[in-house]
């Protein structure tokens, strides 16, 4: 009995001396992640009005649609977005039509500006990635100003 517990003690010593500890810590971290995934609501699209997304944009003020800015946005949209987004149908990604009826303007701009982090962390973006068969939104390196112009164009659709 005494010997057995001694063996156990020494074994533990071996494990800790040989760096088993860090592995242990890591598995704790990842189980934490699993936990947070489980606690997400079943439908991430619910309460979309509270979701501003993750990224540089925390508030957007929308006034009357500015046709000049929208025209500039259309040009950018056609050059940088139409490879994956068509106005009249879901293509690789969703149609932008009626975007602000289902997403906040902040969310929309953060998705344009920070797609990598959004598809990893934002519940709506994660759901959309699944719907796009795992095709990630391409980061087109837009400036904040360009993203705002594209948003203005989308409002006209």
């Amino acid at each position: 009995m005494k010997i057995n517990s001694l063996i156990a003690l020494v074994l533990m010593l071996i494990i800790s001396a040989c760096g088993g500890d860090s592995n242990h810590q890591k598995s704790e971290e990842s189980s934490g992640e699993v936990q947070s995934m489980i606690s997400e609501p079943e439908d991430p699209m619910e309460n979309w009005q509270d979701n501003k997304g993750i990224g540089p944009v925390s508030s957007v003020e929308l006034g009357e649609i500015d046709p000049e800015i929208a025209a500039e946005g259309q040009k950018l949209y056609e050059e940088l977005c139409t490879a994956c987004h068509k106005v009249n149908k879901k293509f690789i990604g969703p149609s932008p039509k009626g975007l602000l009826d289902r997403r906040t303007p902040e969310w929309a701009m953060n998705m344009m500006l920070n797609p990598e982090e959004m598809i990893q962390k934002d519940p709506i973006a994660k759901q959309l990635l699944i719907e796009a068969n795992g095709a990630p939104m391409a980061n087109q390196n837009l400036t904040r100003d360009q993203a705002r112009k594209i948003l203005e164009y989308i409002r006209t659709l």
Binding site: I7, A17, L80, T82, A83, A135, A138, N141
Partner: protein, 653 residues
């Protein structure tokens, strides 16, 4: 019971030792030193190296980029050879880069990379390299790590003493290793002494897109082997080593090694500029080609040149002098102060060091021992600063650490010897494995070396790595030179036969690194910058496919109406604007390579379909979870079929 217990205890103790890697043994087997070395070269995953090292790929024709101290291969930059991995020299945009006056030459022997300098210090803007075989010099832009310019060197054979740069990147030089008739003509080879001449060429290098042969100096028909430009007090001068002052043309191994002394040619290029201004340059007909890759059109163009300006030494006193140097000198290296010119006599055991100041005095006092073709030969005693008696065999090259020390490679005795400038005393020697050629210290041929590491570039690798058949990659060895003694800390294999290398602190290059080509700046004549413009056009038997790519599809991906006998140009624009997201394009049966198109770039692949049928095409560069699905089909109909041109994506035409 007590006995069993202690046996068990010692048993457990043994397991404990074994499980933890026998650290007790390390000291005895010398493993502690290895551990220290490993720590010195260890760059943790995700961390960056301290230096970029650029090594010539030798007969691979390329430059390979390594991180130091880790020895990690970061990139292979295609320069003088076609590179199927990147489509370089295969796609329509880069084919012109390999044009020469002989036509398309898809290979060369790349020898000496040389970083651009400002005030004698590497500035990280460009790196130049010579093509030895079909004489050429290339410029690589270090914002993109792409070859952007190549100029051919006329009237030369074996562009070896090249492209050693001047202090402010005014010129790169190109001395001919093999003398040839100047201009070329059909003569008996045994009329060498009468008909063969050397050319020392100065290429204007300070303005991208405008590399040009500024002037050539017509010199006796020796072999001009290596060079270095002066710096500091010797700025304005270039030094070239020569061998074959015997002017032999056969069995040179013996016949070019008869004379006890050959020369270092000292060229006053500032004086050359004066003579050119005075109109002393002679225009001579000549054929050579200049190629330039424009980053906005993503396309290279070739320009033919028909003339060079030549200076004749006998008509230009003070332009060039010969410094006698024993014996068949190979490397010529100028120390950071610009005072000492080190000649490595490869058939000698000693190094001959000339003094620049003594040379100027000797010129002033006309201390000459003779003259060849109007070039005065200075007296050795009048210019010599000292001799390093090393006891090694076959000295080749010298670099400097900026702390008053020089390091010379000895090819035959396979070692690096450290010695002191001024006292010529040998301080240390370290063996190399094996047959070391060049060596490199970051900035080691500039005014301000970063004298922390030394890389030995070895020709023979046997016994160092796992055998890979009769041929093995050449070997680079990294030494820590921060202490009094050199310490070997890493071996790593290199590509081709690396001749020389250059290195520069990573942050100088990194901060200017480009990540994408902005799509709005794309001025390629066949770019598609808007999905609305994708199309297929026929003009006779020429078909142009205007194609786009983005993760994870091509547009269009169904193409019909191509016929056997057509010449099909695929103009692919990569619409991505994200770092490190190139897309490839490859077509079954195409007698070509793939395209690899950088974000925002347009490239063109030519395809001449041979047989009717359906041909898949796909992206070669794994780009997303749906990379596998990034594909399309082309229908090829027989010659004369009436299938109309048609294209679509997702059924939309």
């Amino acid at each position: 019971m007590k006995n069993t217990f202690s046996i068990l205890l010692s048993f457990i103790f043994l397991i404990f030792l074994a499980a933890c890697g026998n650290s007790g043994d390390k000291k005895d087997s010398g493993m502690m030193n290895t551990g220290d070395a490993a720590q010195k070269v260890y760059v943790a995953p995700g961390e960056y190296d301290e230096f970029y090292a650029f090594m010539s790929g030798g007969f691979s024709g390329q430059i390979s980029v390594y991180g130091l101290p880790s020895g990690r291969l970061l990139k292979v930059i295609p320069v003088f050879s076609q590179d199927a991995e990147k489509g370089y020299g295969y796609n329509e945009e880069t084919k012109p880069m390999l044009n020469t006056s002989y036509g398309f030459v898809p290979w060369d022997d790349a020898h000496h990379p040389e970083l651009s300098q400002t005030d004698g210090v590497p500035d990280g803007r460009w790196i130049f390299i010579n093509g030895n075989n079909t004489p050429r010099i290339a410029r690589v832009d270090l914002t993109t790590f792409e070859t952007t310019e190549i100029i051919e060197i006329p009237n030369s054979g074996g562009n070896h003493s090249s492209p050693f740069i001047t202090e402010n990147s005014e010129y790169v030089v190109a001395g001919t290793r093999f003398s040839v008739p100047f201009p070329q003509k059909d003569v008996p080879i045994d009329s060498y002494k009468e008909n063969f001449k050397g050319a020392l060429t100065y290429i204007k290098a300070d303005e991208p897109g405008n590399m040009d042969v500024s002037f050539q100096i017509l010199v006796p028909g020796y072999d001009y082997d290596l060079a270095h430009s002066g710096k500091g007090k010797s700025h304005g001068w270039t030094f070239f080593t020569t061998y074959n002052t015997e002017e032999s043309h056969t069995l040179k191994e013996v016949n070019a090694s008869q004379n006890d002394k050959d020369f270092i040619a000292a060229v006053n290029w500032k004086k050359a500029e004066e003579y050119l201004e005075q109109g002393k340059g002679k225009k001579m007909p000549s054929d050579y080609i200049h190629n330039y890759y424009d980053e906005e059109t993503h396309t290279a163009t070739s320009t033919e040149k028909k003339e060079v300006t030549v200076l004749i030494p006998s008509e230009c006193p003070g332009l060039i002098y010969y410094l006698p140097t024993p014996k068949s000198p190979h490397g010529v290296d100028v120390d950071p102060t610009g005072e000492y010119i080190v000649g490595n006599g490869k058939l000698s055991a000693d190094l001959t060091v000339h003094s620049f100041s003594k040379m100027l005095t000797a010129i002033e006092n006309e201390e000459f021992e003779g003259e060849v073709d109007g070039i005065p030969i200075l007296k050795l005693d009048a210019v010599s600063a000292g001799t390093v008696s090393s006891g090694g065999l076959g000295p080749l090259h010298t670099e400097f650490d900026g702390k008053g020390n020089a390091y010379t490679t000895f090819f035959i005795s396979s070692e690096v010897v450290k010695w002191k400038l001024g006292t010529w005393e040998v301080l240390d020697r370290a063996p190399c494995y094996y047959s070391v050629g060049h060596l490199m210290i970051p900035g080691g041929d500039s005014k301000s070396p970063w004298g922390k590491y030394l890389v030995a570039l070895n020709k023979i690798t046997k016994d160092r790595y796992l055998p890979t058949g009769p041929e093995m990659n050449h070997s680079a060895q990294l030494y820590d030179i921060s202490g009094d003694k050199m310490e070997l800390i890493l071996d790593f294999p290199t590509i081709g036969e690396p001749h020389y290398a250059q290195a520069i602190p990573a942050d100088i290059v990194m901060e200017n690194s480009k990540k994408i080509y902005p799509i709005e700046e794309n001025k390629h004549p066949h770019a598609v910058k808007n999905e609305k413009d994708v199309r297929v056009e026929r003009d006779g038997n020429v078909v142009r496919v205007y194609l786009t790519s983005i993760r994870s599809h091509f547009n269009p991906d169904n193409i019909e109406g191509i016929k056997v006998g057509d010449k099909v140009y695929f103009h692919l624009t990569n619409l991505e604007q994200d770092w490190d997201t190139p897309h490839g394009l490859s077509i079954m049966g195409a007698r070509n390579a793939e395209l690899l198109v950088m974000p925002g770039q347009t490239e063109t692949l030519v395809w001449e379909p041979q047989k009717a049928g359906i041909y898949p095409f796909y992206c070669t560069d794994f780009c997303s979870a749906l990379h596998q699905e990034m594909q399309g089909y082309i229908r090829v109909s027989p010659k004369g079929a009436d299938v109309p041109i048609k294209w679509s994506l997702d059924g939309e035409e």
